[in-house]
Symmetry: C2
Subunit: 261 residues, 2 copies
């Protein structure tokens, strides 16, 4: 539970915040918007709920969080207009781990509601936004309670380090990387794959219980082919690993200082 | 909307935080627990939902926030055992204004879930906790979506300063207080009463649309009799007013500095 509490994107709106460093994720969401459109159109061909309950899993913090909401409202509105139907009430659930900076997102909601009212003519009160903190590798909602699940750029996060089972050999095993790299031996690939399969199984099992019959799910995440080529991720992996070592060293230095004093 | 964003209890867990200075509110909640018990017993005599949806309005931050949840789970569990029924799944919605420190509450949830599991034998997953930021003087949830509303020590907060209509005379009118005091003239009493009546009307109208038929509502808040006696609130009122004046003075001083440079 501890790692699920501690892990989060960089909070706030500062220079180094996730909110100001998530352009890549935004581009991927825009690129995948047509999948959301197709899914919602298909959803509406079978079912028109009076209240559309949508959960965004791994929402993080920043403009992308609210972009998901306005995209979905936009697509549903267009679909309803085409079908000559009243748009539904929306109830959104923004999910991320317990340590995520939901406060920053909440503070931007009054402006968001105002823009929604101006842009789309929605009366205030027809869109209700909630937060649901917790791990999407487990249950988050009651049975049969969500019409549409959405998750973008989040499912590649694993529930735990896949190399844990290798104990002390792990560091040399993957040459200090905390990610698959071009030089990783097959056992590392297997360990990451096994962890992802296990996590994804728990993810799908949970969502299958939470999804209303006839509901839909849109999952956007990066895949990896088998070509072993060096990528930017390896550099990031090395930097992250250095930072981790630095934190550990500081921690042990502090322990030594306490021991001496 | 701006005041609804800015107002909040003191964040975090520090010495001056609301979390560490809300013993009075805790005592009132404990004192009113029997009302919650009677209400839930009456609720269960008519209806047993498979998922009990509960909203706590004006939840703030700190141990009281989670005390409400464990009290309600406790009472429902006892009631179900007495009626020989399976306990329901719980879905809680913690509500407060947009500026409330929900992050601190969320960070305490892993420990809360752990204790819940140990104390009450609840499997993880049978209690889902969400946050719903916004003003309870307006709509917060879709129609017919909440089984039980709870609000303790919150409804005395008004949506705006009742003396606004008195413009510049207000300060001298209520002798600098931001609260009814023993020396307040009848017009101040009337203004506060009128604002409360208007706010409470909007509150009840919203809840009546959101409450599932057969649902229940428990509202605990301090009242005031007509005896004009000096209370501790007057001292607090004066201190708050001084702080407000200080902020205003600093603001104008800054404006003057900018003007000169």
């Amino acid at each position: 539970m501890e790692s699920k509490l501690l892990l989060h994107m960089n909070s706030g709106k500062g220079e180094r915040s996730y909110a100001n460093n998530s352009m890549l994720q935004r581009k991927l969401m825009i690129k995948g918007k047509h999948i959301l459109e197709e899914t919602i159109t298909r959803f509406y061909s079978n079912y028109s709920p009076s209240c559309m309950k949508v959960a965004d899993l791994g929402c993080s913090v920043g403009p992308n969080t609210l972009l998901v909401i306005s995209n979905i409202i936009d697509i549903v509105d267009t679909t309803c207009t085409r079908l000559n139907q009243e748009p539904p009430t929306f109830q959104f659930y923004l999910n991320d781990l317990f340590g995520n900076d939901f406060n920053t997102t909440f503070k931007s909601l009054p402006d968001f509601y105002k823009r929604l009212d101006e842009d789309k003519g929605h009366k205030f009160g027809s869109c209700f936004i909630n937060a649901t903190p917790g791990s999407f590798h487990g249950r988050l909602f009651p049975n049969n309670s969500i019409n549409l699940f959405h998750s973008a750029n989040s499912l590649h996060w694993l529930s735990q380090d896949p190399l844990l089972e290798f104990t002390k050999e792990a560091e040399s095993f993957n040459k200090g990387h905390c990610h698959i790299v071009s030089t990783s031996p097959p056992a590392v690939y297997q360990a990451y794959l096994k962890q992802f399969q296990q996590d994804f199984k728990f993810f799908l099992k949970s969502r299958s219980e939470e999804l209303v019959p006839g509901g839909a799910m849109v999952l956007l995440f990066l895949g990896k082919n088998k070509t072993h080529r060096r990528t930017g991720w390896e550099i990031i992996s090395l930097v992250l690993n250095d930072m981790l070592l630095e934190v550990n060293n500081n921690f042990f230095n502090q322990l030594i200082t306490i021991g001496v004093s």
